[in-house]
């Protein structure tokens, strides 16, 4: 049967190649004709003569195949043949192939997905021209209590005039806010930001439709506006005729002069509406000019200038300003930072962590496949020996093994790409705290890098068994016969090392995942200091200048609060200037009788303005003194409530109540008085320590945007009636956000959840792979020593003794793996230290669970081969 198939294959090969070798055919034809002619001369009939000629030639096709063998060196044909063998041998071992492709797909898929994210955040070009020359300048205090803060308008003007390192420094509103657009379909809340003169020129961004802003737009009579590409699509369906139309924004008509490119986002984030920023009103206000730190600055390095030079220059300017304006600028530093770094911000660590995890998974994948290929090569030793004996060159054999590996890698890579797409789609589903410019996609470069990983992986895990096969001694292998060929010491050790490495990597990953999961658990269960359950938070957008007047605002607050209180089920209503969040308003603190050290700036303390019922509605306990009430009026002394940790820090010996302090930019304001101490609140649920915080009364500091409504039922069910009450007071009023406070808090933790989920996923993946590795090690060890075990049984060994033998051989490597894992754990915990919360780095629970999980899986994995070892039937094994 084999011969027939061979002949058929050769014949089909000949047919396929016929066109490629007309010369060979012609030459043979010529030979046959000559031979036939000679036969005729010798007296045969024509027909007989031809047949005799053919016979003398032997099998025509076989001859051609041999001739071809001699004729060329054939890299392409060899490759095709190798691939054919590869596919055939892969199909011949479906389980192995499935396992290998799946393992690879998971390893490569995980890496491609994570790499797609990392690349779009850390490597992709920012949407600006020559973005590597762009620098963000921020302000901080020398003592470090404030970092990456905004810059005051006055300081900006001074920096812009004195610096020589930048071609231009341009200011922008360091954030995104809401405004109301009165369009045809009723009021809509849009996001907006403001940018100073030269902003788009500095970034090197041009408007594809209309123009960007010019220096003349700031403070000009004609109000103008730019739209983002997305907003233009949404509001005007991408109609170019929208250019020149007038939009009513916060009650003011503004002319649309341009649309920004698709994909453009500012250093402050994405916004629908871009307005010119006019600093003149701020600069003419003596208090706000130097004391409100709200501007973001971005500059383009001048030709030849470096970041280092800019840093030195800014240090000099900061020192000069501290001298010139000691009351406003003392203790301040200005720090330049590459724009990308400032935009990547805190995402870098989790991303690199993910990349490292994915890399570990890939390593485990490789180790696993190396081990699998190794045992497959061993079981194919006979086949290789036969081929070497039949004349296959060893180089050729190695090449074929490598081809097989690459074939597997290609299949695994393709499947991995699919998985990566799925993975990215899942990741997109999370509200990720990634920089606004990052698009999560598998772009061509990511795919190219991925394919490279696949090929390198194939080569890497193909090489080990291939080298072993290259050394194979055909005579030895053939003589050993079909059975009983024990693994050599060398390959056994190699496999042991591979399994140990997998276990070490797996334990490290699991420990990391465990620590992160415990942190997340601690974050979401640790008391926040307030009770977010049963509270609906509604943030309002005040539509027009009407509400700039304090009296109007106050009247609105009263009416709205009254109406909300009357709603059924509502047990409390309160207002606050800002919901707890990681980034909050901070005011400088002055205490009567206390001078901060000469060169220091005053400490900056989180400050919010709250209504009388705020503490009750939020469930923040009053510890000492009082909260706010009707007695606090604009004409009485400003009352301040401080948090426990603020009281402890600034009045460690007590005496906070009654202390005279001042907060905010106005240094000439009358002293405030501390009237109460309340419990601490963790504004950032991802941070363990509460920050010092101060509260002012909304009766005195009229500044409220968010209403908190506590109810007995589901906060969500209140929404409709809240909307109705709001419309009853002012139909122009829009809600920019409304959600249960619990959801709001959970949203702040969403960014923490993804690394935990992914790392746990990677950990599970690693566990699965390592279990497969352990199984493969024991299975092939048992298979290789079957005859030995059979002999032992014949010679009187008990099954327990054999089980012990197997366990002992494998357990040593597992122990080595765990020991290696201990080192891995130390490395992982060092990497994770900054991400941990409420969990010690060597948390016994996390570490114990991860080691236990691994041991449990490994035990299950070794049970099957162990069972097989103890059930060996000596008769079958001994008979040869």
């Amino acid at each position: 049967m084999g011969i027939l198939r061979d002949e058929a294959r050769k014949l089909s090969g000949t047919l396929r190649q016929r066109t490629a070798e007309p010369e060979l055919d012609e030459e043979i034809q010529f030979h046959l004709d000559m031979q036939t002619a000679k036969n005729v001369r010798l007296g045969m009939s024509e027909e007989e003569a031809r047949r005799a000629a053919l016979v003398s030639f032997g099998g025509l096709d076989r001859f051609k195949e041999e001739a071809r063998d001699e004729y060329r060196s054939r890299p392409l044909e060899d490759l095709v043949q190798d691939l054919r063998y590869g596919v055939r041998s892969a199909l011949g071992a479906p389980l192995f192939t499935l396992l290998a492709v799946l393992t690879l797909a998971l390893g490569i898929g995980a890496n491609a997905a994570v790499f797609g994210v990392v690349k779009s955040v850390l490597l992709d070009a920012l949407p600006y021209a020559r973005a590597d020359r762009l620098v963000r300048i921020s302000m901080g205090t020398q003592d470090g209590t404030m970092q990456r803060s905004g810059v005051s308008a006055g300081a900006f003007v001074d920096i812009a005039e004195r610096q020589r390192s930048f071609t231009r420094v341009t200011p922008f509103f360091n954030g995104v806010d809401n405004l109301v657009y009165s369009g045809e379909g009723g009021p809509q809340v849009l996001t907006f930001t403001q940018v100073g003169p030269g902003f788009f020129q500095t970034l090197g961004v041009k408007a594809p439709l209309g123009r960007t802003l010019t220096d003349a737009d700031a403070g000009a009579e004609d109000l103008v506006v730019l739209l983002s590409h997305g907003a233009w699509q949404r509001l005007f369906a991408g109609d170019p005729r929208a250019l020149g139309r007038t939009l009513r924004l916060n009650g003011r008509p503004r002319k649309l002069v341009g649309v920004l490119p698709r994909g453009f986002v500012g250093p402050m984030g994405d916004a629908d509406v871009w307005l010119p920023l006019d600093l003149r009103p701020t600069l003419s206000d003596p208090v706000h000019a130097r004391r409100r730190h709200w501007l973001g600055l971005v500059g383009r390095l001048a030709p030849g200038a470096t970041l280092e030079r800019a840093r030195r220059e800014l240090d000099v300017i900061a020192a000069d300003l501290a001298r010139e304006h000691p009351d406003a600028d003392a203790g301040h530093v200005f720090t330049p930072e590459p724009l990308r770094d400032s935009m990547v911000g805190e995402t870098r660590t989790p991303l690199l962590l993910l990349l490292a995890s994915a890399g570990l998974v890939l390593l485990i994948t490789c180790a696993n496949l190396a081990a699998a290929l190794l045992s497959r090569t061993l079981s194919r030793r006979q086949e290789f020996a036969v081929r070497v004996a039949l004349g296959a060159g060893r180089g050729r054999l190695v090449r074929q093994l490598l081809t097989e590996s690459c074939l597997l890698a290609a299949a695994g890579g393709a499947a991995g790409l699919l998985l990566a797409e799925l993975g990215l789609a899942t990741v997109r589903g999370f509200a990720l705290p990634l920089p606004a410019y990052a698009s999560l996609s598998l772009d061509p470069v990511a795919v190219a890098v991925m394919s490279l990983i696949a090929v390198v992986t194939g080569l890497a895990f193909g090489l080990v068994p291939a080298l072993a096969a290259g050394r194979a001694n055909p005579q030895g292998a053939l003589r050993e016969g079909t059975r009983g060929a024990s693994e050599s010491r060398r390959t056994r050790r190699l496999r042991g090392v591979l399994v140990a490495a997998q276990i070490a990597l797996c334990v490290s990953l699991l420990a990391g995942a465990g620590l992160l999961a415990r942190s997340l658990w601690a974050m979401s269960t640790a008391p926040l200091g307030f009770n977010p359950d049963g509270v609906l938070a509604v943030t309002l957008q005040f539509p027009s200048h009407e509400y700039d007047k304090k009296a109007v605002l106050l009247r609105f607050y009263e009416r709205f609060t009254e109406r909300l209180r009357a709603l059924p089920g509502v047990t409390g209503v309160a207002g606050v200037s800002e919901l707890p969040s990681p980034v909050m308003n901070r005011n400088g603190l002055a205490i009567q009788g206390v001078t901060w050290p000469e060169k220091d700036s005053p400490p900056f303390i989180t400050y919010v303005s709250v209504s009388d019922d705020y503490f009750r509605a939020m469930g923040i306990p009053l510890l000492q003194g009082r909260t706010f009430g009707p007695a606090d009026r604009p004409d009485t002394t400003t009352a301040i409530v401080v948090s426990q940790s603020m009281a402890k820090r600034y009045w460690p010996d007590g005496g906070a109540i009654g202390a005279r302090i001042r907060m905010g930019p106005d240094v000439d304001a009358p002293w405030f008085e501390v009237v109460g101490i309340v419990g601490d609140v963790r504004n950032d649920p991802a941070r363990p320590e509460p920050e010092p915080e101060a509260y002012g009364s909304s009766r005195q500091d009229i500044w409220m945007g968010t209403f908190l409504i506590r109810t007995q039922g589901d906060p969500r069910s209140l929404l409709r009636s809240v909307r109705r009450e709001l419309a009853a007071i002012d139909p122009e009023m829009a809600m920019s956000r409304s959600m249960p406070l619990r959801d709001y808090v959970a949203e702040k933790l969403a960014g923490r959840r993804l690394p935990v989920l992914l790392m746990t996923g990677f950990g599970a993946l690693a566990l699965l792979l390592a279990s497969v590795g352990v199984y493969a090690m024991f299975a092939s060890m048992v298979a290789a020593r079957e005859r030995e075990f059979g002999l032992r049984v014949v010679l009187g060994s008990t099954r327990q003794a054999i089980a012990a033998l197997v366990l002992w051989a494998g357990a040593a490597w597992m122990a080595a793996g765990l020991a290696g894992g201990a080192i891995g754990i130390v490395v992982v915990t060092r990497l994770l230290r900054n991400l941990l919360f409420g969990v010690p780095p060597f948390d016994p629970v996390a570490l114990g669970v991860s080691v236990a999980a691994l041991l449990a899986c490994a035990t299950v994995a070794l049970l099957v081969p162990l069972r097989r070892a103890t059930r060996i039937d000596p008769i079958n094994v001994i008979r040869v």
Partner: protein, 113 residues
């Protein structure tokens, strides 16, 4: 293989014989088999199945080269010609063959009476 009592070619000698056949003039494959048969007085019959692989092998080693020419009967045929390297190879093989056959003759000529 060959039932007739013809001389089977000693392994490796075919290449030498082909080189020798081409020593005088370029020839096509069929001509080579005819010449070897003729010179060996029909003792040596070159198996065509071995001849062509040998020709390609020699060609790859650079000892012969080939070109298409027209025969006296006006047919196209591939002609093989000896290269300079082939001539040196022929000389070397002839020398080692003579040494070998002389040695074999010595052994076979020993009287064992």
């Amino acid at each position: 293989m060959n039932p007739k009592n013809k001389g089977d070619l000693l392994q490796g000698t075919l290449d030498m014989l082909v080189l020798k056949a081409l020593e005088l003039e370029p020839m096509h494959g069929w001509g080579i088999t005819e010449r070897i048969e003729q010179w060996s007085e029909k003792v040596l019959q070159v198996n065509q199945g071995s001849l062509y692989p040998a020709l390609y092998r020699l060609q790859r080693q650079g000892w012969i080269n080939s070109s298409w020419k027209t025969t006296e009967n006006n047919r196209r045929a591939r002609y093989y010609a000896l290269t300079a390297a082939g001539r040196r190879q022929l000389a070397a093989e002839r020398e080692s063959w003579e040494r070998l056959s002389a040695a074999v003759n010595l052994v076979m000529g020993m009287s064992t009476a």
